[in-house]
Symmetry: C2
Subunit: 319 residues, 2 copies
């Protein structure tokens, strides 16, 4: 009972935490058939109590996905993928797969290792809060968010359009990127900010309770993501260790230069001027309405390269 239009295929979501659960809510709200699995009975009970179609039975969920020709969304923490993939191979080997993990090359390798003939398009919605679990799920979590889809030269055009339709359905805009470029990018703008937030929190709290009691906006905002559950932070950061090591080393170098400049010349001019310029560049991109990617027919010769080229100019795929 496959859907005729693959871009309207049912969605089977494995893992109903913040991202997976919010995707279940968002796709269901759009009238798409969606169902999910979570290994935690209380999570599944909460999802069912909210009117959603969820189960703790992985095998039954995957058999159903196979029967319906559903797109399978891997939405467990990256550390749980090894436990889930063998079941996918066994019960739903032909289904199109995507994921929502914050790192793409390691997931691509993991899938290739367990499921060599998988049809897989990597995904990463840039949305989240420092809350986690079903209680934090929200059908509007992805509204206006950027959703990266891996777009390599050998990516299947029809599969790509199917996954893009799910992202668009959830309210997001699609950013096509190569897996390695994505991993370097998120190391810089997502994983590194976790490390600097943690370091800032540690040093601030180490000073005295007087310091914490004087802490205002700069400390509150600058350390916010250190409040994310440590195991989620570690799963995310450690999975992208190669790219993260590069940007972390660069950050250490910048801070050492700033320390030397401050000690020797009493100024922090270079870091503050460069930092301010960088922040303004970000604000410009973040507040501008994104221009759509235009003039590309997905599947036509060179389509993937052209999508990536336009995405590097901060354009987005809007369908």
């Amino acid at each position: 009972m496959s859907s005729d239009d693959p871009t309207r295929a049912p969605v089977c979501i494995l893992g109903l935490g913040l991202i997976g659960g919010s995707l279940l809510r968002a796709t269901t709200a759009k009238g798409r058939k969606a169902f999910g699995y979570n290994r935690s009975a209380p999570t599944v009970a909460a999802a069912v109590a909210s009117g959603h179609d969820a189960s703790t039975d992985l095998e039954a969920t995957l058999r159903r996905a196979a029967e319906l020709g559903a797109v399978i969304v891997l939405a467990t923490p990256v550390t749980a993928l090894r436990a889930v993939l063998p079941a996918v191979v066994e019960y739903a080997p032909d289904n199109l797969l995507t994921d929502v993990v914050s790192v793409k090359e390691p997931v691509t390798r993991l899938i290739a290792e367990h499921h060599s003939r998988a049809r897989y398009i990597g995904g990463h919605p840039m949305a989240g809060t420092s809350e986690s679990g079903w209680d934090a799920t929200d059908s509007t979590l992805f509204d206006g968010a950027m959703w990266m889809l891996t777009t390599d030269d050998d990516t299947d055009a029809s599969d790509w359009l199917t996954i893009a339709a799910i992202a668009l359905d959830s309210g997001a805009q699609v950013v096509p990127a190569a897996a390695d470029a994505h991993d370097r990018a998120v190391a810089a703008i997502s994983h590194l900010p976790h490390l600097t937030a943690n370091a800032t929190a540690v040093v601030g709290a180490g000073e005295s309770d007087l310091a914490l009691s004087l802490a205002a906006g700069s400390f509150r905002d600058g350390t916010r993501v250190a409040g994310t559950a440590p195991e989620l932070q570690r799963a995310m950061l450690e999975a992208n260790s190669t790219a993260l090591l590069n940007v972390l080393s660069e950050t250490i170098d910048r801070l050492i230069q700033a320390r030397d400049e401050l000690r020797d010349n009493g100024t922090v001019e270079v870091l503050v001027d460069d930092g301010h310029r960088a922040r303004k560049a970000y604000e410009h991109i973040a507040t501008d309405t994104r221009q759509p990617i235009t003039g590309v027919t997905v599947g036509a010769p060179g389509w993937a390269q052209e999508l990536r080229r336009q995405a590097h100019q901060a354009r987005v795929w809007q369908g």
Copy 2:
């Protein structure tokens, strides 16, 4: 024409930027006589247009402060204090002074240097935004904010109560502290977060426009204060260079340890666990209702030491 009750004295604010201008609004709103000086004619015109009492004439403003027995609030950037203090000595040498600069030991030294017999209580309201200037002023800026007042063993009790009343009038709560302890505390929880925000912004923006276009909450919040005008950031950070060098070096050490741990063992466990614990300690202090300092009569033997002791337990002076 001095006021009879010194805690209701008029307030003369030198500098009508975000902090000084908001204080003019807040104290006026409380029915206290307040007037200000700014060297920029457009700023003064804007303040007057909002119904406030402001002038570009420093000499006249200070003569009036002397005549009224007003408390003078030094609210210029720290770098402009050298230009303002000689006029204070000349036209209002007997007036009680306070300031709102984010660093206390250097300001105390500067005042001692220019005005050896000054009556001075240092102040620092922990409030601000990345906006600046009169347009950003807000009479509610200090509502619930912590306002540090220097409280040393030789602090004059009556002067301290007069400045504390201004802080309380503005909606803030008073945190008594020694000047050096304050400077170490703000280096840790205010000045350091500016440096880590700037470094995070530089490295994130250096990666690619793809990175900036994927940037979401962690980058947005973690780099927010890098958007503050560079000259304001530099004035604040460079004035506190000794304390800032210490916490910056500690931060670099923590990040180097994290890099080594990630490179050698593939984990960021130590930094993430410690950072998460530190953030939770901060959230506990920040969200708890502050307990009031109790059992102290300002002016009684040992009062300053006792206020500081209770402030180190995150208690606040509420009048």
